[in-house]
Symmetry: none
Subunit: 208 residues, 4 copies
DNA sequence: TATGAATGAGGATTCATTCAT
DNA sequence: AATGAATGAATCCTCATTCAT
């Protein structure tokens, strides 16, 4: 498990640390994660964490920035070239698939919210990021509106947050929801069902 | 602000500890919160925390159980006696108002999800709780369906989670959303706007 | 060496820590001294150091304050009831004997000067201390002047610092002086000789 | 302020390191000074410190030896060609001016004493140094004695240490003395006054 | 029921030093 | 001669928890 980076490869060392940190922060949070454990898991000398990231918070911020950069990059990869309703379906699917495939993102973002977004606010890189999700969604809504398929005046940010909310909460709070409502929401069936519910809901929200 | 409970009042001591713990867990999470700080804030000797709650996790569970009990009790207080669409509006308002008035609930539940719902799963009290929200919502959807105002076959749990998602994510992730989308979502205007968006959305989802 | 304080005796615990700290700071300085070593030497759980003194600097300050308190108390014990010249001799002897018997005081005060008197400046207790050395010396100089034995207008603080200088530097810098001037100043003979030199010098300074 | 010595200039590199080290040791002591900080301040790669001075202690010793060499050189520059009393004044002035202009010398020598003169004792260069201060002072005392101005049998080392004591302690312990005696001794007036006091005192000590 | 004192394992971080180039 | 990367042993300090009263 512990990979030894015998060769002198700064980029690789950084990579190993970031990967281990991401997993650790996702599972135990900023406060629960242990620097020792991250070092151990990354197969890198503990000292290197401080060499590259200053301190635990710096490491957390680096993870956070990477998450947002990936989020932004994911938007670039999304292809919505299709008739409005189909594109809308694709779009929702994309968001669902993204968070479903990156559950650690949810945990880490929740953690950042717990801390009032303090790290993110201090970040210099976040501001420079593009938000392709919004741009592409904006164009989609525009086209749908022009074709008379969608309601006029829809705000892409609002719609995007709506989709995120429906995806994110279901996935991120799956355990407590399951327990409280006494219904296992972690099964493939429950997920499929919820995914369809999101599709229907979003369609209902944007259509006339 | 540190209340000294010199008098021997068990119930009051428990209360003080729970209140301080709730605030602490909401602000720093289970791992970030400090037993010392909780004792200090509650004006109670640290030893008492162990006397009443065994350990930190026991205290967290107690807070969690109280939150769910209050959640359940809040459902009881909700009055949906009105025509379906009006009742629906009231219902959404109720959920919004509840979480808006209890932001610490969101933080603590997120924390419990971070830990995979481990505490909740162990709780004996949770199972016994009624879920009045669901029951009342079920009746409402039933009535709406009978009157031809709502779609048939709506699942109250699904609808409830939908509303929670739209409320909870906006409130709980307000900071990171604001930063990432470069739009201050914490203003009264932004909140009002989002609240209306939820109302419209839910209506669109349940209506034919 | 390691005394175990099995009994619960706060005062004794504090005492043990302070004693060990004093020795440690005297030998390795604030930065060189190790908290672990102090705990070990005092036979007290390391955690207690932080319990009683907050941190290493707090411990250093406590040592410093104790040193000054003892310095002040030593002044009280000094009896100068004698004819001026005899009293002067006694006084110089007292200062010499004090520092000679408390070499750690010199090391610690030097350390505090290294840090620009930062700790002392923050101390609240220092200001309240009496300076009996000065008061008694003032009276002595006054009497000597009246009897025509001493020069008029002598400033007690100046004279006191003079005596301290002659005592303190010889004792505190004994090693480097010995090496540089290639003459062993640590022998009993050298000390006796220097002590007499101080007596003569001070007498020369104050007499007409 | 960090000078980059991109060019390969061994002497310059050594110089930069020594300068930075001297300042660091003067301000934080041997234990408090950080090798990293010294490297940073000297604009030289940290590895070079080990290349030129073996380790931290070696660097400290190098600084120490330089200090003593300068001290010795300063003695050479001192010109006491004047009538005994005038020469004595000049001499005291010289010592005062020297330490006043090189306050870091005091801090570093104190540090060396804290460590029991261990580094100095191991030094090979110290033994070879001339002590022109002593030689010149010896001649001065000799002349004064011959002219009947000074007491016979004065020991130049004793007198020199006396002067150093009066200069050194006032300057080196200025902060703690000021605080303890509640009198600001760092002002120009206080310094001038003390300097005159030394002059008078030394004259009183050596004259008949 | 309540409290101040005590504990030991562990936590983040720092340090002087060395390696590989 | 010079450098960025790497190391492991410490170092200060914190934490949840328990003891003795």
């Amino acid at each position: 498990m512990t990979r030894r980076s015998t060769t002198r490869d700064p980029e690789r060392t950084r990579r190993h640390i970031l990967d281990a940190a991401r997993a650790a922060f996702a599972h135990q949070g900023l406060d629960g994660a242990r620097v020792d454990a991250i070092a151990e898991a990354s197969g890198v000398n503990k000292r290197m964490i401080y060499y590259y990231f200053d301190d635990k918070e710096g490491l957390f911020l680096a993870v956070l920035e990477e998450i947002y950069a990936e989020l932004s990059a994911a938007g670039e990869a999304m292809d919505l070239a299709a008739p409005p309703l189909d594109a809308l379906t694709r779009y929702v699917d994309f968001v669902w698939t993204y968070y479903h495939g990156h559950p650690e993102v949810i945990a880490i973002l929740n953690n950042e919210n717990l801390h009032g977004g303090a790290h993110l606010a201090r970040s210099l890189h976040i501001r420079e990021l593009e938000r392709p999700f919004i741009d592409k969604l904006a164009r989609l809504l525009q086209q749908g509106e022009e074709k008379g398929a969608f309601r006029p005046g829809l705000d892409p940010v609002t719609i995007h947050i709506t989709v995120i909310a429906l995806v994110y909460l279901f996935l991120g709070n799956n355990r407590t929801l399951s327990i409280f409502f006494d219904r296992d929401l972690s099964t493939a069936v429950a997920k499929k069902s919820w995914r369809e519910h999101i599709q229907c809901s979003v369609r209902a929200i944007v259509t006339v």
